[in-house]
Symmetry: C2
Subunit: 353 residues, 2 copies
């Protein structure tokens, strides 16, 4: 605490990201990074563009990248916003669309950054409960609100809400902005992007950090009606004219153009995920049905917190959230086939004592 701090920051409790350990080499299954490297085209393009032009500011409009995304998703360029990771895009969205007066709704179990944004920006929020099986009852989002956000698939459960249900929520709340946080959509879900032209209140947020293997370069984006995108640009241009650097933009553009590589790697991850889930269920784990690049697991008799620590001791990092409702679960990112073999073997050893 300091007398120099603004009232806002005195009260907030910042988000804590997963560890990026430096002490030793772990099998790192704790931050949902992609186990496969970025497309070789990305690496090549960055190297080719690492030159004297780095002395110049990037294009503040990020037009080339927006065009590549728009073209991939069959949108217009002015239906796309890009930013420094989807976290920044989400923060800007909260500033652009939500007010201090009326409550924003999101699920009780969800991406834990949402309440952090709310506290920083002084936005009221109410959390709607999930059902006992962690699925979302869409009618929970029919109550009074001034905006809605939820991840699909949800985090950290990995559970996917079918597009028809997403549409119901968007349609019912046509006068409020509904944000679908699709950070993990490429691992088996169906994006709501097809609904953009139908619903002016729909904003979709995605990232290059997961399915495009570019967590190191910080690229997120939003898609929606051009008036929503204009709102995001107003925020961005009131904070930082150039949020994406030259190399990150080039990398992202190449990544989205290399569809073959993208398909290959995301399908490999899905395959590994489903195999690991099956194996874990065989040895007494409850594994939620995941459409993400992670699984959310709980053992019938072995406490999650202990498992977390023992895995860490044995060189495997996973994520444990000490939160009501999920304190006996672990979130495990899907690594390579080999990494997951080691993970299963290690966890079998631990639980068999």
């Amino acid at each position: 605490m300091s007398k120099y701090w603004s009232n806002t920051i005195k009260d907030i409790e910042p988000y804590v990201p997963g560890e990026q350990p430096k002490d030793k080499t772990y099998i790192k299954l704790n931050t949902n990074e992609n186990p496969y490297p970025p497309s070789p085209r990305v690496i090549k393009a960055i190297k080719e563009n690492t030159n004297n032009n780095l002395r110049l500011y990037p294009d503040p409009g990020c037009d080339n990248l927006k065009e590549a995304i728009a073209s991939y998703y069959n949108l217009d360029r002015d239906q796309v916003f890009v930013g420094n990771g989807s976290d920044e895009v989400l923060a800007f969205s909260f500033m652009a669309f939500f007010d201090r007066e009326r409550p924003l709704l999101f699920p009780t179990i969800t991406y834990s950054f949402y309440p952090v944004y709310c506290r920083l920006l002084n936005i009221e929020y109410r959390q709607v409960p999930l059902q006992d099986d962690f699925t979302l009852n869409v009618e929970e989002f029919y109550r009074e609100n001034h905006g809605i956000i939820f991840p699909n698939p949800n985090a950290p459960t990995g559970i996917y809400l079918p597009l028809s249900k997403v549409e119901k929520i968007v349609a019912y709340n046509i006068d409020k902005v509904v944000i679908i946080d699709e950070a993990y959509i490429d691992f088996g879900g169906k994006s709501a992007v097809s609904l953009i032209d139908k619903y002016p209140n729909l904003l979709i947020v995605q990232t290059f950090s997961k399915s495009r293997s570019l967590a190191g370069l910080r690229i997120g984006f939003a898609m929606g009606n051009k008036k929503l995108i204009e709102g995001l640009n107003r925020v961005k241009n009131s904070i930082n004219s150039y949020t994406l650097d030259t190399l990150a933009m080039i990398a992202a553009r190449e990544a989205i153009k290399d569809d073959k590589y993208f398909e290959e790697t995301r399908l490999k991850i899905i395959k590994t995920r489903d195999r690991v889930a099956k194996n874990l269920r065989k040895i007494g784990f409850k594994v939620l049905d995941s459409r993400a690049n992670f699984i959310f697991i709980s053992h019938q008799s072995y406490p999650a917190c202990d498992l977390f620590n023992e895995l860490k001791d044995k060189g495997i990092l996973v994520r444990y959230f000490n939160q009501p409702g999920i304190s006996n679960y672990l979130r495990v990112s899907v690594g390579t086939e080999r990494e997951m073999d080691v993970f299963i073997k290690t966890i079998e050893e631990i639980i068999s004592g």
Copy 2:
């Protein structure tokens, strides 16, 4: 305008950065970029680190870069904050230290992003007048306030406030945060960094975009008492855990380590600036005394706005601000010797009709 926008963004007027033109090749003297490329060590380090590890998140603490900056300025690591360009660092500073209730002070003629932050964040501000010669009377900052910010050297005038006067302002306002925006300090001014251990209310913001030739990679930083730095971290970790990407961090670290290259290039720019100023004065220009990598000029008979347009027609981009008090001035970034020869020749041709 859109019914979906929050009240905040309905009222704001975002900042407009200088053009990054795509239509043709200009001599680009409009955004204060460094005319010299980044250090060769920077280019080499980026290429070497463009590899599969880009799939991993960057270090959220940015420890290696903070250490390099701390070591350069003889500070502790926890006295350093880094961010996505100094604009982001400034925006975070406004959130961390200023409140909606009490007025923030900054000069009437100054970096035009400050009022933009205030409007976005709902911070009251009052602007203190400069003297007729554009210098700052320190006593203007003795009036009631809840915080102070000014660039030193000032933008867009380039005028430098001697360190003894900076210290007076900081000392007088010991209970308020005083931010010195030193984006241009390396071009002939003396940084207030030496005062950090003496004044817990002093925050200094700098950038790698100007004197380190890295505008394309978006790296800014702040230095101050560790409690102020902690405040900035609270804001950052409530918006985006990873604001700096892996390659930008590596680039910045190499840049600050290559002191020889830094000294060579900044001295070249200072030399060119002083030569250009001298030549322009000879042909009827008023040239303010600049300690930045730009000059602020006004012709005795030729209107700045016309000059701006004619220079642009002839392939030279400079910056014109249509604002009270400076509407007959042009801001001209210092380019290479050769670029400035062309600039002087062109401007001579224009004014001699």
